[in-house]
Symmetry: D3
Subunit: 248 residues, 6 copies
C-alpha cells in the first residue's frame, strides 16, 4: 500500500465541478486528491496575428500557481517579472495537448484561452490541468453551439492525462502525489485520447534511468487510469459528451 | 431599490469560509455578493533586510486577479512582465491597513505574507480582500499561539473595509457592485477598526467632485456597514476573536 | 510653533515660475518651501488607442524624482527597469485630479502629457505637483487658444492640493514638510476645486488611526490652505485665469 | 528513400571536433548533417546558493541559436529581453540529461556550465546539443583529472540523444532533418545511456496522435541509432572514454 | 556667421551655478547656450562589490533627460523599462572621463555618484554634462576636505569637454547647437585636461567621412574652446580650484 | 618585440572564410590572431517603421559574445534580460560605420541585418566585427545583384577597422591583443574607408591621457594597418570587389 493507502494502479479521487466561476464561457474546479485547479476557458473573437485570414481558430493555455498552493510559499511570477521555465513548459504542453483533439478549422477565427490556476498543489498539477481544461473547453464550445455561432462540436476526441512513475524500490505506480513525486526515480506524464492513442509522453529519469520493460508497465498503468478519467469527464459533460466527434 | 434589489444602506451577503486552502497558516475564501477572494496568510521566519535585528515583525500583502475573474479576460501580469499601477496601489493599501492594527513588536522577527487572489470579481475586490485578509491573518497568528511560538495575540483591534459612493442622481450608497462602481460619480474606500476609528479613507471623484455634506453621509453609511462586517468576522474566528486586543 | 517656525494652519511659501523650460507648451517651476518640482505640459495631436474616434481628448501624468532630490540618493527607476508602486500611485492621482476639472470633449483628439519632475524634495511633492501641473496645463491650453486650435478654455474650475496631518501629540497641521511627514501619525492629501468641492481625499493612519472629529479639523485646515493657493495660481495665470470656466 | 537520400533507419553523418574553442575547459563543434552546434563546458569553483555546503557539484545548461542559424532570421533573445519557452524547455532538458549520468558527489562543490550555441540549424538541435555537450563535459572533467583536482572520472555512463518520428504516410524514421520535422505527425526525442537505458522520452503528436506499436518501432530505431553515436563519442574521447564508469 | 550669430570658433555663453540643489554634496546647474543640465555629485561611503577591500574609491555616472527637454516629448526610460544605447554610451563616457583626472587611491572606499539630468536640450548635452559634473565633483570633494574625511584634494587636473564638427559646406565649427548638430557631416566630442592632453576623442562621420587635415583643424578649435571653459570652472570653484593637483 | 612576437606596427594574421554559414545571404568567419567572429548579413524585404515610404534601405547591426568566448565565462545577456552598455555601444558603432560607405538609396526598402557573434575573444572584437561584417554585407549585396533585385552594387567604398594604443612605456602599437589592451594607457579604435578617410575615431585614455603628437603616431599606424586589411578583403571578395564604387 502507498503512503495514502492506495494500490499501485489506483487513481486518487477525482471531482470536477462545472461552471465554477461565472464569467468564463467554460469553467471547472478539478480536484485530484489534494490537488485543486481552477480551469477556465475564454473565447476571444479573433486569432493571434500570425494566424489571421486563414479562417482557422487557435487554442492557447496559461498556467499558474497561487503563491501558497504549495507547502512553502513561492514568489509570484508577476513580482519576479518573468515566467519560469517550468511554467512555460507546462503551458506549452497544455495548449499542444488540447489542440491535438480539436479541429481548428471548425470554429472560425476565434481563440480559446485556457487558464489553469492551481489553488492547492499535491502533485500532478499539469495532468489535472489538462483533464480539467478539456472539460472547460468543451463547455465553452457548448456556449458557441447554444448561440448557434458554430453548428457542430469541433472536438474530435476525449482527452485526459495522468502521471506514472517508478519508486526507488522499482515499483511502478499510477497518479503520483507530491511526496511520491519527489522521491520517485522516474516520472512520466501521459496524455491520451478517447480512442486510446497517445498525444504526449514525457518521461524523465531525474538522476536515474529506466528500461523498456518498465516503460511498458508504466504505459499500461496510464492507459487504464485514463480510461477511468474519461468516465468522469463524460458524466460532467452530460449531453455535450455525445457531440464529441461529430465533425470527424 | 438598487440594481440588485438592495437598499442604499445595505451590504451584499458576506460569507467567510475559514481554512479554505490546506497549506497556508491562515486561509479563507471570502464571498461578498458575486465577488470571491482567496485570502492566504503565510508565516515566514525572517523579516526583509531593512528590518533585520530590530526584533520586530513585518506584514506585507500581494494582490492578484485570475485573468477571467472579470467579464473580459485580462492579460496575466506575469505574462506582461510587470505589475500594474492598480495592483501596486491595492497591495500597498492592504499591507498598510493590516499593519495599523497589529503590534509589530509582539511576534518576533517574522513576516506575515498576505496573498489575496480574486477568483471572481464584481466590485469591491480591494475591500473584500482587506476584510478577508484580516481573518486569515488572525488564523495564522492562532497557529503561532497554538505552537506557543508567541504567547499573546499581537492583533490590537478588529479591521474591516467597505466602499461607499455617490450615484449620478446624487444618491449615496453602501458597498457598490461592479455595475454601480462603473457608473458612480464618486467612489470611496473606507477601512475602519473595531474601535470605530478610521485607518484609510480614499475618496475619488472620477470626472466629478463632492461636497463635505456628501462626505459625511458616506462616512456614516460606511461606519454602519463595517459594524455589521465585524460581527461576521467575529463569528468565523470563534475563540480567537476574544484574544484580539490582549496585548494592548 | 512648528519645526520651521510656522503656525499649525500656515502654508509654506509658494512660488510658481511660469514658462520655466522653453520647449513644452506649458511649463512651471513650483517651489513649496524647500520642495521644487518642474511641471511640464506637452500637447500631442492624438489620443491613446482605446480612445480613438470619440472626438475626445485625454490627460495623463508622469512623476519622477531626480536620484538626489532626497537626503539619501535613490536608485533611478530607469536603472531598476521598473517604476515603483509609490510612483504609479502618484502619477495616477495627478492624472485623475486634472481630468476632474477639464471638459475632455472640448479640446479635440489631443493628449495632454503632464510631467512632474521633482528636483528637490522636502515633503508634499505630490500635492505640489498637482498645484503646479494645473498651471502648466492651463498655460498649454493657452497655446491652443492662441493658435485658434480651440476656441474656449476647456478647464472648468481651478484645482489645487495640499496635505494635512496629525502629529503624535494629536495636533492637526497644514502642509507637512518632510520631517513632519515622517513623524506624523496621520497623513492626508486633499485635492479641491475652486468651487470648494473635493476631488480626492486620501487619508492614511500609518500604524495609527483617527477619529471623525479629527478628520473634520483636517478638512477645514486643508480648505483654508487651498483657498490661498488658488490666489497664487490666479496671479501667475493672469488673463488666462479669467477664461477658466467659460465652457461650463 | 528520404529527402536527403537516407534510409528510414539511417543517421545523418556526425562529426565531433574536440577542443574547438580555446578558453573553455571542454569544447566541441558537433555537426549532424547540416546542424552545427558549439558545445562548451566551463568549470566554476562554486555551486549555486541552494546547494552550498553539501559537498556536491552541479551541472546546468544554457542553449541559444545565432539569429541566422535558421532559414529566417530570428530576433535575439537578449534584444527581446526574455528567453522563450522553447529555449527554457531545451536547456532544462540538456541539464537534466547530463546530470543523470554523473555522480554529483564526486567532483566537489563545482558547477559545470554547459553552453550549447547553435550556429547552423537543420533539425535535431537539442539532441545534437546533448550528444556534443556530453563530450565537452567529459573533456572538462579530463582537465580536473589532469590537474589532480579530482581523482576519478565522475561520469558513470555514456549519454547520447537522437530524434525519431512518424511521417504523414505513417513511416517511422530516425534522426529527422528540419524539413522532415516540420512535416512529421509525431516527433520524439530520446536520450539514452551507454547501458541502453532511457533517460528521457519526449514524444509529441502535434495535431496528431500515435499508437503503442508505433511507439515501439520508434524506440527501436532510436536505440540502434544511439548505439552508433556512442562509437563516435568514444573515438573522439580517446583514453578518457575508458575512464567513464570508474566511480560506479 | 552661424545660425545663432556666432563665429566658427566661438563657444556659446556658459554659466555654472554652484550649490543648485541642497541635498547633494556637490551640485551645479550648467547652462551652455540653451542647454541646461543639473549635475549632482553624491558621496556614498562604500564601493561596488567588485572593488571592496582594495582601499580605493570609485566614480560612476548616470545621465538622463526630462521627457520634454527636447522639441518632441520622449518616452521616459523608466516607463520603457530600459535604458537606451545612447544613454548608456553617454554615462559610460562621463564616468570614464572623470576617473581619468582623479586619483582613486586618495579618497578611501567611497563611491562618487554623478547624476546629470538634462532639463533643457539644445545640442552638446554630453559635453556640458562632463564640464558641469567636474565642478560638482570637486565641490563634493570639498565637503570631504571640510569635514577632514580626506586631507588632500584627490583631483589631479581640470577637466572639460566640448564638441566640434564639419558642416556640409566643409566649414569646421566649435560647440554645435542642436540645429548645427543635426545638419553636420561630422560630429566630434573632445574631452581634455587642464594640462592640454586628450582624455577622449569621439569623432563620427554619420553618412560621411573626414580627412586628417580636417581632424587637425577640429582638434585646434576644441583645444582653444576648452581653454576658455577652464577659466569659467576656475572662477566658480574659487579656493577649491587651487587645491586641484595637490596630490600629484 | 611584443608579447606575441610582433613588431609595433604589425597586424596579427587575418583570415576571412566566406560563406561560412549556409542560411544567411552573406556570411564569413573572420579570424584576427586568436579572435574569431562569425559575421552574418541577412536581407529583409522591409525597413523599420520610421523609414517606410522613403524608398531607402537601412543597415543595422547586432553584436554578441558566446558566454565562454572569454577567459572567464560571462553571463548570457538573454539570461540577464538586458543588453549591456558595452554591447549597445559596439552594435551602434558597427551599424554607423557600415552605413557610412553604402548608398542607402540604391537597394530599395530593404534592411540589412548584420549579426556579429564572437565565438573566441582575444582583443579587437569590435574592429574585427567591422572588417568581417563589411565582407558579409558585400556578399549579401552580391546575392541581390545575382537575382537582379538590384542593378548596381550600392557600396561606395571599402571599409575596415583596427585598434591602436599606447603602452605604459609610451610605445604606440598597432592591433592590440587582449593582454596588451588590458595593460595599455590609451586605446583607440579607427574605422577608415578605402579612400583613406576616417569614419570613426574613438580614443580613450582610461585613467590616462595622451598628447597630440601621440595621436598623430597612432593615426599613422592605423592608416598603414588598415591599408593591408583592404588587400585581404579584396582577395576574399573576388569579382565583387571590382563592383564597389560603381554607383558613385
Amino acid at each position: 500500500m502507498r503512503n495514502d493507502q492506495r494500490y499501485n494502479n489506483q487513481l486518487r479521487p477525482i471531482k470536477i465541478i462545472p461552471n465554477y466561476i461565472s464569467h468564463p464561457e467554460g469553467s471547472v474546479l478539478i480536484t485530484v486528491g489534494e490537488t485543486k485547479v481552477i480551469c477556465n476557458a475564454s473565447i476571444e473573437d479573433r486569432v493571434p496575428p500570425f494566424m489571421r485570414g486563414q479562417g482557422k481558430g487557435w487554442i492557447t493555455a496559461e498556467y499558474s500557481m497561487l503563491p501558497r498552493a504549495t507547502e512553502q510559499r513561492n514568489i509570484r511570477e508577476s513580482s519576479k517579472g518573468k515566467v519560469s521555465g517550468r511554467t512555460m513548459e507546462i503551458q506549452r504542453l497544455i495548449g499542444r495537448a488540447l489542440r491535438s483533439v480539436v479541429d481548428l478549422e471548425k470554429f472560425g477565427e476565434r481563440t480559446i484561452w485556457i487558464d489553469c490556476d492551481v489553488i492547492q498543489a499535491d502533485g500532478g498539477t499539469r495532468t489535472a490541468s489538462i483533464t480539467g481544461a478539456f472539460v472547460a473547453m468543451v463547455l465553452a464550445f457548448g456556449k458557441l453551439l447554444e448561440t448557434k455561432a458554430i453548428k457542430r462540436m469541433p472536438v474530435k476526441e476525449f482527452l485526459a492525462a495522468t502521471s506514472v512513475g517508478i519508486l526507488s524500490d522499482d515499483t511502478e505506480i499510477l497518479d503520483l502525489n507530491y511526496k511520491e513525486d519527489s522521491e520517485a526515480n522516474v516520472d512520466m506524464n501521459i496524455v491520451m485520447t478517447g480512442a486510446g492513442e497517445f498525444v504526449e509522453i514525457q518521461g524523465t529519469g531525474e538522476e536515474a534511468t529506466f528500461r523498456i520493460d518498465q516503460l511498458k508497465t508504466m504505459l499500461m498503468l496510464a492507459t487504464e487510469g485514463i480510461e477511468d478519467i474519461f468516465g468522469i469527464q463524460r458524466e460532467v459533460l452530460g449531453d455535450l459528451a455525445n457531440r464529441i466527434g461529430e465533425t470527424k
